[in-house]
């Protein structure tokens, strides 16, 4: 039970020294800024922000560039880095049998779950924004799946989708018999793995997204609806011409953040552990190449492809946004 006391103590001491070190840097920065003629208040402000700045430089900016460099080398923990040019990328694109299926699975997963998730969350939020009794209870129930730890979600759905005795296949057995299909091995079959992951993600649809939508819906000015009613608008017209434009900036935010996190799916996938035949997500590939096969150059290349993918998709969404996002006080 107390075997780790030594490790706890050592970590605790180092943990307590870090803020001292950061405070020293902040003080030094403050002194230097004062010397070059900054006034006390701005200098104090930058000093306050400096711990984040240190973290950003050491653990974000530097690693980002360093991993770009590593992606052009054959680095592994045991050997130094040797420049190999585009070899890692060439191997991924032309020879790696797992790369393209993984890219396809990851992108399709994101492109399908995000719109379904956002629309679903909006619909649930619209339902819950009706004046109904026991709304608190409904909200709690709807939120429950989203709060569950990823580990529990993954294990539960792995069991639900179990090919022989999972609840889903048992319930669907008559249907498969009619269609003369074998019971699918959801996480072991490349045709079923995507739907399985999408269904799993749908369960947690009423997450943070819907909570934010719910708040956004109550913020839409009532006067707009009243004006529309005078003009004879019916329910769905109010939804399309008032509600959606009014909350479109929030939809944009949800789509972008949802896309970024969907492309990075990792923990759930590791616990569901789809078979190699069914396919792996890109972050699983990064982990496997880097930390089990120790090809860290190649792993960095995969990570950079994923990074660029996220950048491109985010840019596309932002570029398209003037066409469908409505900001108060700005001409469309």
């Amino acid at each position: 039970m107390f075997a780790n006391m030594g490790a706890y103590g050592a970590t605790l001491i180092r943990w307590a020294l870090v803020p001292v070190f950061l405070l020293l840097i902040a003080a030094l920065l403050y002194g230097m800024l004062r010397l070059i003629g900054w006034r006390p208040k701005p200098a104090f402000g930058l000093a306050l922000v400096s711990p984040w700045l240190v973290g950003f430089l050491v653990f974000m900016a530097f690693p980002l560039l360093y991993s770009l460099y590593l992606s052009f080398t054959d680095f592994s923990i045991f050997s130094g880095a040797r420049w190999v040019g585009l070899q890692n990328y060439a191997r991924l694109f032309f020879r790696d049998r797992e790369f393209w299926p993984s890219l396809r699975l990851t992108v399709l997963y994101a492109l399908l779950t995000v719109p379904i998730g956002v629309v679903g969350a909006l619909l649930v939020a619209l339902l819950l924004s009706q004046r109904v009794k026991a709304i608190g209870l409904f909200r709690t129930i709807y939120y429950l799946p989203a709060v569950l730890p990823e580990v529990a979600v993954a294990l539960l759905w792995r069991w639900l989708f179990n090919s022989e005795s999972g609840l889903i296949n048992r319930l669907l057995a008559p249907l498969f018999r009619i269609l003369r299909l074998d019971q699918p091995d959801w996480f072991g079959d490349p045709h079923y793995v995507l739907p399985a992951f999408i269904i799993m993600s749908l369960w947690g649809i009423f997450g943070t997204n819907a909570v934010i939508f719910l708040a956004a819906l109550t913020d839409v000015p009532r006067s707009l609806y009243e004006a529309a009613e005078i003009d004879g608008a019916v329910g769905w017209q109010k939804l399309i011409y008032i509600t959606i434009p009014q909350i479109s900036p929030i939809i944009l935010l949800q789509v972008v953040m949802g896309m970024i996190s969907a492309l990075q799916i990792f923990t759930v996938a590791m616990f569901v552990r789809p078979t190699s035949a069914a396919g792996k997500f890109m972050n699983q590939l990064v982990y496997e190449r880097g930390f089990t096969q120790l090809h860290m150059g190649e792993a960095s290349a995969i990570a950079w492809v994923l990074f660029l993918l996220i950048l491109i998709l985010t840019l596309i969404i932002f570029r398209s946004s003037p066409a469908w996002v409505y900001y108060e006080g700005r001409e469309r």
Partner: protein, 278 residues
């Protein structure tokens, strides 16, 4: 009138229908957790086991040294959470209440880091900790928390601080309070709901963290709950013990569920607030 009643009826039917569909997996999880090993694959299943096997929970807990894993997890959660709350509040204060050249650029960079995939910095970060000789220790999981590494939390806290009326600080300044005193006596009490929200989210983050422990904790004595669960799952060719796995899933989920529903008000307020304001 009749139409209204029908509309209401449909609305409730839909609400209840969705609720039932969402709850079935939970019920299935609990049901499996209480089923004896031999009966797991029985069909039709006993939804409410006649002889609930409560000892499944104890058996599963004892199958691996989960006592130790729990202690390790609590250690990581405590250190990470403490460092994060302290550093993020101060950084947010700097962004919210001080004018300095480059502030807006820095804040934009901070927001942009929310979009950066964790895996792209993974290998160099690992190499940094290796250079310090700290791979295998708890340090890589908690030391970085001092650098306000949750951009979303900094954002949330800053948004809350921007809402505090300036007059309060001006009054404190007239009374001769310095920046620290103002922070401690004026700012902190005002952002309490945001602090709770950050604490809950960060607790869940550390409690659920998988990638960090997977990469950095090499010694089985130092495993956290989540990492322990990963090995509890067994090898690729083993038939998992679903009753034990469901029991442990419930155990792992319980602290998070309890925390979230006990403090629902705070985190709902927290996320809706940042989701809304520019």
């Amino acid at each position: 009138m009749a139409l209204r009643v029908i509309k209401r009826g449909v609305l409730y039917a839909v609400l209840v229908g969705i609720a039932v569909v969402l709850l079935i997996p939970f019920f299935w999880m609990l049901s499996t957790a209480l089923t004896a090993e031999a009966d797991i694959f029985a069909w039709p299943p006993e939804w409410i086991p006649k002889h609930p096997q409560w000892h499944n929970f104890a058996d599963a807990w004892k199958a691996l040294p989960f006592n130790r894993y729990l202690l390790n997890t609590l250690f990581v959660v405590l250190l990470g959470l403490g460092a994060e709350l302290a550093s993020e509040t101060l950084v947010a204060y700097g962004f919210a209440r001080f004018q300095f050249p480059g502030r807006d650029v820095l804040f934009f960079v901070l927001l942009a880091t929310m979009m950066m995939p964790f895996h792209v910095t993974l290998i160099p970060t690992y190499l940094i900790w290796q250079a310090f000789g700290l791979v295998g220790e708890f340090d890589p999981l908690v030391l970085r928390a001092w650098t306000a590494w949750g951009p979303f939390y900094v954002f949330l806290l800053r948004q809350f601080m921007l809402r505090i009326p300036r007059e309060l600080e001006d009054a404190a300044a007239i009374d001769g309070a310095n920046a620290w005193q103002t922070f401690w006596h004026v700012i902190l009490p005002q952002i309490r709901p945001a602090l709770f929200a950050v604490a809950i989210f960060a607790f869940r983050g550390y409690w659920n963290d998988f990638l960090g422990p997977l990469i950095y904790l090499t010694d089985t004595d130092k495993y956290t709950m989540t990492l322990g669960m990963y090995f509890f799952l067994g090898g690729a060719n083993e038939q998992p013990h679903w009753n034990y796995l469901m029991a442990m899933s419930i155990v792992v989920a319980l602290p998070v569920l309890i925390l979230f529903f006990a403090a629902q008000r705070y985190f709902v307020e927290g996320i809706t607030f940042t989701g809304m304001k520019e």
